[in-house]
Symmetry: C2
Subunit: 253 residues, 2 copies
């Protein structure tokens, strides 16, 4: 069995713990958090600790903590031979270069505390300072998901910003539309099927081919009708995204 220590008590730490615990090939030997109270999700209390000095030997130490805490924790954590890996999308691997064996174990997904996730569908982006370490991380990854990718720090940064576009920004567009519906006394439910279909289309089409709408058709009448209905902030968003669609698809405003 591969022994794993998880550092952290947030969403990623919790979901990794739950997913690792299901695998017979993985043994979560300990979970660390400065505030031990937050480790209630760890079934066996003897595996919880808030003392870095107490950490047991393991093959992998996973730092599932906030980006800004990684550097400090890395300076305190003493590890002899195991691999120390963080789970951050935006931090370089080299932040852990003080260790002999280090890497990155980044699950590309949005986690919410109370929403269970199916880890087998989550892409894992892995990086390590040696082939041997990468192989071990891949082995661990393969126990919880089929989607294991070797991703460099540079690529991971591009993925992280892409994730902001596809998740944070599109969710915000949904919020703006929800707000719009509310003002017109319409239930947001009326938009849900369209949102679902927007994503379902991507099962068979790439997003470039799936593009539709007044910007793509260069339908100036509809565009100006829409702009008239929007406040200044939304007008700016509408205009800039319309221009960007037309630019990407080789049309002129």
């Amino acid at each position: 069995m591969i022994k794993v220590v998880i550092i952290g008590a947030g969403n990623v730490a919790t979901h990794l713990y739950q997913s690792f615990s299901k695998s017979k090939q993985l043994d979560v030997v300990q979970v660390f958090n400065r505030n031990v109270e937050r480790l209630h999700f760890v079934n066996n209390p003897t595996k919880r600790t808030s003392n870095l000095e107490d950490l047991v030997e393991a093959d992998i130490y996973l730092l599932a903590i906030k980006d800004e805490a990684i550097g400090e924790l890395a300076s305190e954590l003493k590890v002899k031979s195991g691999i120390v890996a963080h789970t951050s999308g935006s931090q370089s691997m080299d932040i852990l270069s003080g260790y002999e064996n280090f890497g990155v174990f980044y699950p590309l997904q949005t986690f919410s505390k109370n929403k269970p996730v199916n880890f087998s569908e989550i892409p894992l982006c892995l990086e390590a300072n040696s082939e041997e370490n990468l192989d071990l991380l891949k082995k661990v990854g393969a126990f919880i998901t089929d989607k294991v990718f070797e991703v460099s720090s540079e690529q991971r940064k591009a993925l992280h910003v892409s994730a902001v576009f596809v998740n944070n920004f599109s969710n915000h567009l949904f919020s703006l539309a929800a707000d719009f519906c509310k003002k017109e006394e319409l239930p947001f439910d009326i938009l849900r099927p369209l949102i679902r279909e927007t994503v379902n289309k991507l099962e068979s089409l790439d997003p470039y081919s799936a593009q539709t709408g007044p910007a793509l058709r260069n339908d100036q009448k509809t565009i100006s009708d829409h702009l008239e209905m929007l406040d200044e902030d939304r007008k700016k968003i509408y205009t800039i995204l319309t221009e960007s669609i037309q630019k990407l698809h080789g049309k002129e405003l």
Copy 2:
């Protein structure tokens, strides 16, 4: 049985024809298109016509044609007693006020030619010039979907612009991310699970509560790291959406 004539041969006309044909309470008595060749989707050739003079009597005439063609067709189409309704999200109902009975039958969905749709999940937005006409449209709508909504022209315009935000604009964000992945030699597939989860979350959360990310956390370090990686156009989009998230959620940049 309620007799329906469909005018048009595009995506909406095709999908409406297919959906109506499945209902035992509806009889599509004729489908009109100026170019009769495009009516190949109509099984029975005797029901196809390209001559407006040949139109048969029906309870409802559905104009499933381009926005800009509705006015002209309405000026040519002679209808005695049936309801004339268009299927447009952006056109006012009054464009059909030359008829005695008129209305709107707007399916709020994105249609692609070769992708079958399940009409029962599509919201139908209905409007009519009288209670009686509205009732008939509702009756027809209920044969093909559970999601029938009475929606005023004003509300429909708000829905139409909302649809641009949730469908066209978010799809464009997916395109930009796909482009980004391509440059970094990463498969777009790596982002699909995140996109799916973004939408799955909305089954249990409203988009406002589902918001996450550096803009919401006001994580200036990550925001500036991201901006550094983007070209001028994408930087503008990133900045304006980040500001908009912070404004909606009551934070200051």
